[in-house]
Amino acid sequence: MEYLPNIIFAVALIAGIGFFVRNVKKLTRNIKLGRDVDVSDNKAQRWKNMAKIALGQTKMVVRPIAGIMHVIVYVGFIIINIEVLEIILDGLFGTHRLFSPLGPVYDLLIGSFEILALLVIVAVVVFWIRRNIIRIQRFIKPEMKGWPKTDGNMILYIEFVLMVLFLTMNAADFQLQQLGAEHYKQAGAFPVSQFIVPLLDGLSESSLILVERTAWWLHILGILAFLNYLYYSKHLHILLAFPNTYYGKIKPQGQFNNLESVTKEVKLMMDPDADPYAAPAEDSTAEPEKFGASDVMDLNWVQLLNAYTCTECGRCTAECPANQTGKKLSPRKIMMDTRDRLEEVGKIMDANKGEFFSDGKQLLNDYITPEELWACTTCNACVQACPVSIDPLSIIVEMRRYLVMEQSAAPTELNNMMSNIENNGAPWPYNQMDRLNWVNE
């Protein structure tokens, strides 16, 4: 019986981590559904980007209020992990405040955790007010209805509760220390929770222990639950922001990739020696490559990673000229749609032993409409604005490619423009022979 708490704890821990690992596996499987892309170049630059953008949060502080609040929550999250480590070890070994022999260092640690916890509570409240009372424009766009809104608030509630539990636990502990209760040795500094102590006044030692233990258990179980909530939430960015900024675009933003499959065909077409009737030599059994993207599997895995990393902050959409002028396009929605569709594909695979059977749906039309795609000016403002190096534009371009090269479904005016280029070497119907007329006009 004595070891029951340790055993329960170990079971909870294993279950929590087990589910998490399962989710991570699903996540990697889904991301790998994307086409391969070579991102092994420029390692130094990539590490630098990750350090600056994910670790250093340089792009978050472009918007100072949200940025600073976010840095607080982020630092709080990272540092409090040291506390979580102690909790886990205490839980497993039945010890209490295992790190307390660190003495003054320990006091400093616990003291700073408490201050951070308070700051996190303040930040969370500010975030909640921004989302629900001030109703900042970018949080009330059409794509934010339903789950995305609930999710955004859920995270704030969970963080709030976790911090309050942490402080309550410390307050009860502090009081027990004062009372000289067995097991509760004098350790730690409690700059914030000491103010909660008066609320516990008059509680007997056993009630205090009950409060302390309850808060302790709920705190750690809450953390395990939160870990598993990540997969279903935009909060996944706390993990994926790191790989995502590493693999993010490092070329000039205006540079679009040149499709290699097209290069091959164009070279063949332009080669006067090529035999147009020759059978394709190698891998003639391979399916002909699809140009552009109509579903998530046609995107590359970095784009799919992007979709899972998106925090739905809407900074991209707020900067998007098309969105600002009331058009349907929202780069955030492009990312959310991609993730939703990818999840749907993943579910189909789960249900069919890992195989995908068409459900008659795809990313194009069922999620993203041509009207959205054609509204994009390719200005890169969304790419510039994204605090975690997501490139919504690359998905838009891939889907335009599909519309144009596979379906010939460009707007009529664009078709005219393209046939002008084909026939006259200019997007307008002028004669190439007149190209130098401007000199003498």
Partner: protein
């Protein structure tokens, strides 16, 4: 307005057995669009003044394919690119200058992996270079007291991080430079990019160029300067939409410089 410009083609250089210092890539807009042709002429006047030995391809130039690529037609883009690369490589072109940020971006960034490697500069960068080298001098106070706001073309600024050259050039005219709220990396698009120039906008509350021009007008400018023929058209239309065409003009940086020198 047809004083003689000195413009030689690559073919003429070839016939003389010479190589020009640079190739001026005029671009489709600069060759055919009535407004943009004036920008090409202004730039050439400055080149002539600085005595630059430059060439154009003339009838051998063709669309870079940029707009086809942004529209999603990778085939057409690569066909155009390969044809142009054949011509450019045939003439052993090393350095290209262009007034069109879209050509600039695509020649500079997207041609290399198809076999076209050139040193590509935007005309504002090149003009700055000429001034820095002392080959071109900008004198006089023609624009003193005028307020100029510079609209960053997406494909020059945000896409390729060229922000300073155009501003430094404008400053040479002693005009007063005023920045819009959204400038440099956060500049709002003029609305023409991504092939929007060639189609009607999607349904919305407003056109992008009208919104961008509103931002420009908030700085109370006499002149909205830009460095792209498409931005030029969009901002000019924007001014008309705001009924400000009597008090505000849209000019390319090259035009501002050429005007300031009475060219």
């Amino acid at each position: 307005m047809s004083e003689q410009l000195k413009v030689k083609t690559m073919q003429e250089f070839m016939a003389e057995g010479k190589q020009p210092e640079i190739l001026f890539w005029v671009g489709s807009a600069g060759s055919f669009d009535d407004r943009a042709k004036k920008i090409s002429r202004a730039f050439v006047k400055l080149l002539n003044k600085a005595d630059v030995d430059f060439a154009v391809l003339g009838t051998e130039e063709s669309s870079t394919g940029d707009v086809a690529k942004r529209a999603g037609n990778e085939f057409l883009f690569q066909m155009q690119a390969m044809m142009n690369i054949e011509v450019l490589n045939g003439y052993e072109i090393k350095r290209i200058v262009t007034c069109d940020p879209h050509s600039f971006n695509t020649l500079k960034n997207e041609y290399p992996s198809l076999g076209g490697n050139y040193d590509v500069v935007h005309h504002t960068q090149y003009l700055k270079e000429l001034i820095d080298n002392g080959r071109l001098t900008i004198t006089g106070d023609g624009y003193k007291g005028k307020r100029i706001t510079f609209h960053d073309p997406c494909y020059l600024g945000r896409a390729n991080s060229v922000f300073d050259a155009p501003r430094e050039l404008l400053a040479k005219t002693n005009a007063e430079l005023v920045e819009m709220k959204r400038h440099k990396k956060t500049a709002l698009c003029c609305g023409a990019g991504g092939a929007q120039m060639f189609k009607e906008p999607e349904k919305g509350d407003m056109d992008v160029n009208v919104l961008r021009t509103k931002g420009a007008l908030e700085t109370n400018p006499n002149i909205i300067a830009t460095g792209c023929p498409y931005c030029n058209t969009m901002m000019t239309d924007g001014i008309k939409a705001h009924e400000k065409e009597d008090s505000v003009t849209v000019l390319d940086v090259a035009e501002v410089l050429a005007n300031s020198q009475g060219l």
